[in-house]
């Protein structure tokens, strides 16, 4: 449906996209992920020509959209866009926001357009907000209206530019469900997002962008569980793990737990026995790590929940007794019963524990 060939986008001092090649099929839901500044949004905006490209081409149904003869009017009717900050027209109420493009741009009959808009409002359960102005809506409601506005012109492709970043964490699921719903109707969607769990849940393909190219692509499972390339691995691990600095002298166990719980809930990660995880972390931190730490510098603790297990990493252990003198039996017992693997990485001054989930 969409084919991107050797796409290059240059600014005077940076080149966010150097050589993008991709084929997007009908019904695909693709998440674009990657570190900041790797041109995810730029790529998205090139697809509906909000940005111009330096070279390369994008074929939509086999025709190059950068051909001067190509109708930009048609392109924008067929490719809708949803923005991070919603960008609803502030001077129009909800129903007019949805109807304005079909009526004044695509010459739809006013009564049909109104009927369609009402159906949409009904489907997205916003029927009572028909006459509200954007400033009267909550963030999640605004985003729903923005999606309705985009699909009111019957597009084939929807581009989402960070649709969840301006929303409450609890609203993220709401948008996720809408995208799932739309994908059932064979809409093709491209989503730029920073929320990896969201990307994982809604999409069938993931593009990891780095170094100006699509560095790695695959199914969510491939990218999140078995990334092949080094940069992808680093990115996935870093962005999917909990990280906190702790210090022997001013250690607050309950602060650590509450931060961890907050992180896990934000990520939508479910741990079957959270209490066990807390217990292990408590014993490990106090009775194994702090006891063998010879200085009193900050230590970094990282927790990552994988599909089958949980990884806990303590790093920055510079002056450390790696021989482990642990006298307390009870804590040894607890630790040994849960830990399935323990790697001591002296070179990088860290210890990696693997826990059964």
């Amino acid at each position: 449906m969409i084919e991107i060939k050797h796409l290059k986008k240059e600014y005077t001092n940076i080149t966010p996209l150097s050589d993008i090649n991709a084929v997007i099929n009908k019904g695909d839901v693709i998440s674009l992920i990657g570190p900041s500044g790797t041109g995810k949004s730029t790529l998205l905006r090139c697809i509906n020509r909000l940005n111009d490209v330096t070279s390369g081409e994008i074929l939509f149904h086999g025709e190059n959209i950068y051909d001067p003869k190509y109708s930009i009017h048609y392109l924008r009717q067929k490719i809708g866009m949803i923005f991070q900050s919603f960008n609803l027209f502030n001077n129009l109420n909800v129903i007019d926001n949805i109807m304005v493009a079909p009526v004044s741009l695509y010459k739809k009959d006013k009564t049909t357009a109104y009927k369609n808009a009402i159906e949409l409002l009904d489907r997205f359960s916003l029927k009572d907000k028909e006459k509200c102005y954007p400033h009267e809506l909550s963030g999640g409601q605004k985003q729903r209206v923005a999606i309705m506005r985009a699909i009111a012109t019957d597009p084939e492709v929807l581009l989402f530019d960070e649709p969840t970043s301006a929303l409450d964490p609890t609203m993220v699921d709401e948008v996720g469900n809408i995208i799932k719903d739309l994908s059932e109707k064979q809409l093709t969607m491209l989503i730029v997002t920073h929320e990896l769990s969201f990307a994982r849940k809604v999409s069938n393909r993931i593009f990891y962008l780095d170094e100006g190219i699509i560095y790695e692509e695959g199914t969510p499972d491939e990218i999140f569980n078995n990334p092949k390339k080094i940069k992808t691995q680093e990115f996935i691990f870093k962005s999917t793990s909990f990280e906190k600095n702790i210090n022997k002298d001013k250690f607050d166990l309950y602060m650590l737990f509450s931060d961890l719980a907050k992180y896990l809930s934000e990520q939508g990660t479910r741990v079957s026995n959270l209490y066990d995880l807390y217990l292990v972390i408590e014993e490990l931190t106090i009775n194994e790590i702090f006891k063998n730490q010879l200085d009193n510098k900050d230590i970094i603790i990282r927790v990552r929940v994988n599909n089958n297990n949980i990884t806990i990493i303590y790093s920055n252990l510079q002056d450390f007794n790696y021989e482990f003198t642990n006298t307390e039996d009870i804590s040894n017992k607890i630790i040994n019963s849960k830990i399935i693997d323990k790697t001591i990485d002296k070179e990088n001054s860290r210890i990696i524990y693997l826990l059964d989930k």
Partner: protein, 517 residues
Amino acid sequence: MSFSSKNKKGLNIDIIFILIIIFIIIILCLYFFVFKKKNDVNQIKSIEDAKHSTIAVLTGSNAENVAHELFPEATIQTYNLNSDALYAVDMGNAKYGMALEFAIIDYNLNSGENRLEFVGDALDEKYTGIFFARNEINKKVLPLFNEYIKRIKSDGTLAEIDKRWFNHGDEILVFDFDKLDNSNGTLIYAIDSTYPPYTYIYNNQVVGFDVEVVYKFCKEYHYGLDVRPIDYSGMLVGIKSGKYDIGGGGNAITEERKKSVDFSEPLRKNKMCLFAKYNKSDNENITFIQKIKDSFRKTFIQEGRYKLFIDGLKSTIFMSIFSILLGTILSFAICLLRLTNSNLINKFCDIYVSILEGVPILVILLLFYYIIFNSTSLKGEYIAILAFSLNFSAYVSETMITAIKAVDIGQWEAAYALGFGYWTTFIKFIFKQSLIQIIPVYKGEVISLIKSTSIVGYIAVQDLTKMSDIVRSRTFEPFIPILSVALVYYIFSFLVALVLNRILLKFNWINKNYNKN
């Protein structure tokens, strides 16, 4: 926010409150008008004393020259209206004044009592004549005119005319300038409409001693007349620049003036006198109400003067409305030019705005009238509209562009992404959203424009303010004309602001709430 929506009751209370304040101001003004300063009865008045005192004179008049010459150490106060100079002495703002003998007599007659008295003998005596510009047409007209004057002097016609205008109580002659046969051409005749009995306005008609002489000359020699009532100083500039062919009346013939303009043969002799406030008022027992009634009658009823105010108001409204319309179109155009983001165009707009913001509007007006459009016969009203709209556009375009640029860029992008083009996006979404910022500032500019039209008297436009000057010069009573003009300006501005507020409410989505219950 200042434009919060008012319910009907709130609005009424506002209006009542404003009316009460206006009423109080009027009462206070009238109070001071009646209980004006009283002069010390025992003051000594002499020419000797005047040398170290204050002297009120008409700006640019012969009196001003004489005052500077004879009383170099005195403080000279200059007024734009002869009647204001007289009134200043009456009110005690200046101890002495200097004016022509007949003007002082006229003042006392009009007041119905002796308010001013002469101090000493006449200081100066000058022949008066009519100004002639040094231009092509006058090479032919001036000799003919002088020949005509000599003739009417010898056959007694001039004496008859003199009697008609300088002996009060005679019937006033009215002239029909349109019926003149203009087979030899049309002369542009500028007059100071506040200089009775030489040149002034009576019953909405230009009349006076000199007007009659000029009219009779034109009738006999087949010239048409285009009469332009104008401010005295404006008339002088216009004659010097050759914009007007002939000007004024009762102008003292002096050597200095002869350097830049020509004079007709002398028509009359005028005495310049020093005067001061009369020590004792004859009518101390006139009541407050009577005084107001009398003043009101003089200002509006007598000689049908209310017609002058109506004409002036028409002119003010005409100029204001068209300046606002043209100015708004211009500002919008400048704004669109600026949106092109071209460096050259932006530079041009910057220069345009900085010049029009940096030069006072009065100076721009004079520049247009006497220099840029000097050779054209464009009416003062149209030149004023042009000057005001340019000035207005400079301010408003800046506001517009700021408000437009303040609209979130995301609004542009969202519209583009839906398929809207540049212009539709701009009109449908961006401009409509920026109106919420533009209109409050725009309202201020509109009101300031309406008020600044009061300066057009300088370029021969008879607006509301000028009309009040004309009436004041006849009645010698400033308060009622000034107060009523102030009130009319306020009401006009208030109504315009009300209309703009209504428009703002229409575009103000922030106050549009939809509550189902």
